[in-house]
């Protein structure tokens, strides 16, 4: 089955992960800009990072037949540094024009501080000015519900097109408010700290598949790109059909990401030769 991994931090992963993903049906990944594990001090560090994910990483993925797309942003954890954030934001339009860059992300909140909120607003404004998609990170663990609500409040004041905004790392306590407000919601599958493959299938069964994305967000921490395939297996083992699975794990990423014409992979439909 063809799968799209819509949130994947490829630079933190090995070539073997690409190879195994290709063998398990992954045809494309999208890589948002991410926190490096420490706070970067220089705008130039971001610029080099953006070059890596917009120019080099697509060549590495291509060796395994996987299309690689990217997003650019200052991560919420680094938004406390206003000078750095503003300087990086001023240079982001150059990268938004790259042939595989899909939009602004992942921006969002970590501890929902004033500076983080200002950075989120500035990122969304930049995206709106350049007619870009937006990928928004929501806080982990105990801050999730509060941070998600603050995010929704910020967006409500900004006259964004909800169809162009994906709010990620949703779980049971936040999914409804995101969908009710008209945004796309993402479920990130982690071994311990975020949603699990089984709980994601519960959410899909409860809310349906419209405007829902599933991803592994695999990075340099305890994470696993194949939680996405675990989710596909769980979904299918509960009796859901192949086309239903394709709608969620391939076609929904096509529908959201395809709002940017650079993402040219189209939704697919399974049929027999007689049809």
């Amino acid at each position: 089955m063809q799968i799209i991994q819509p949130h994947y931090h490829a630079i933190a992963r090995t070539a073997q992960d690409y190879e195994k993903m290709a063998m398990s049906g992954v045809v494309a990944v999208a890589e948002p800009a991410f926190w490096a594990g420490y706070d970067r001090r220089h705008p130039e560090t971001f610029i080099d990072y953006f070059v890596q994910i917009t120019e080099f990483e697509p060549t590495r993925a291509a060796q395994y037949g996987i299309r690689h797309f990217s997003w650019v942003a200052v991560n919420p954890k680094e938004a406390e540094n206003e000078e750095l954030t503003n300087e990086v934001l001023s240079q982001m339009p150059e990268f938004l024009d790259k042939p595989t860059c899909l939009g602004v992300g992942e921006t969002g909140l970590h501890k929902s501080t004033k500076k983080e909120i200002a950075s989120l607003q500035a990122h969304v404004e930049l995206a709106m000015k350049h007619d870009q998609l937006v990928l928004i990170h929501t806080p982990h663990l105990s801050d999730k519900a509060h941070g998600t609500q603050v995010t929704l409040d910020v967006l409500k004041e900004m006259n964004v097109d909800p169809e162009k905004v994906w709010i990620d790392h949703a779980e049971e306590q936040t999914i409804e408010s995101i969908l009710d407000a008209g945004y796309w919601a993402g479920m990130t599958l982690y071994p311990i700290t975020k949603c699990s493959p089984r709980r994601a299938v519960d959410i899909l069964e409860k809310y349906g598949s419209e405007r829902l994305l599933v991803n592994s967000s695999a990075d340099w921490g305890p994470s696993d790109p194949f939680t996405l395939q675990e989710c596909v297996l769980e979904f299918r083992s509960r009796g859901h059909g192949l086309q239903e699975a394709i709608e969620i794990f391939h076609n929904n990423p096509c529908r959201f990401l395809g709002q940017n014409p650079k993402f040219d992979i189209k939704p697919i439909k399974v049929s027999t030769e007689e049809e």
Binding site: P191, T193, R198, E205, K206
Partner: protein
């Protein structure tokens, strides 16, 4: 031996995850039972709830795992 703080710091997130999975199984059962009717026997559900109750209310020290294993013998597997 780890200190009490080390134990909480090391195992909190993993235990949180296991409890969430447990809650999700019970929610899943309730949704299915609501649309399809409950299982012929709810013994497995009942023993899981008994186990959770045991964990929440027991003031025993150290033998919670043993108590749960004894509870689970009610279900032939």
């Amino acid at each position: 031996m780890q200190t009490p703080k080390q134990i909480l710091d090391t195992y909190y997130l993993e235990t949180r995850c296991m409890l969430l999975e447990t809650a999700a199984v019970l929610d899943r059962y309730d949704r299915a039972a609501e649309s399809q009717g409950q299982a012929e026997s709810e013994a497995k559900r009942e023993v899981l709830l008994k186990a959770l109750n045991e964990l929440a209310n027991s003031d025993r020290r150290e033998d919670r795992a043993k108590t749960l294993l004894e509870l689970f013998t009610e279900i032939p597997t």
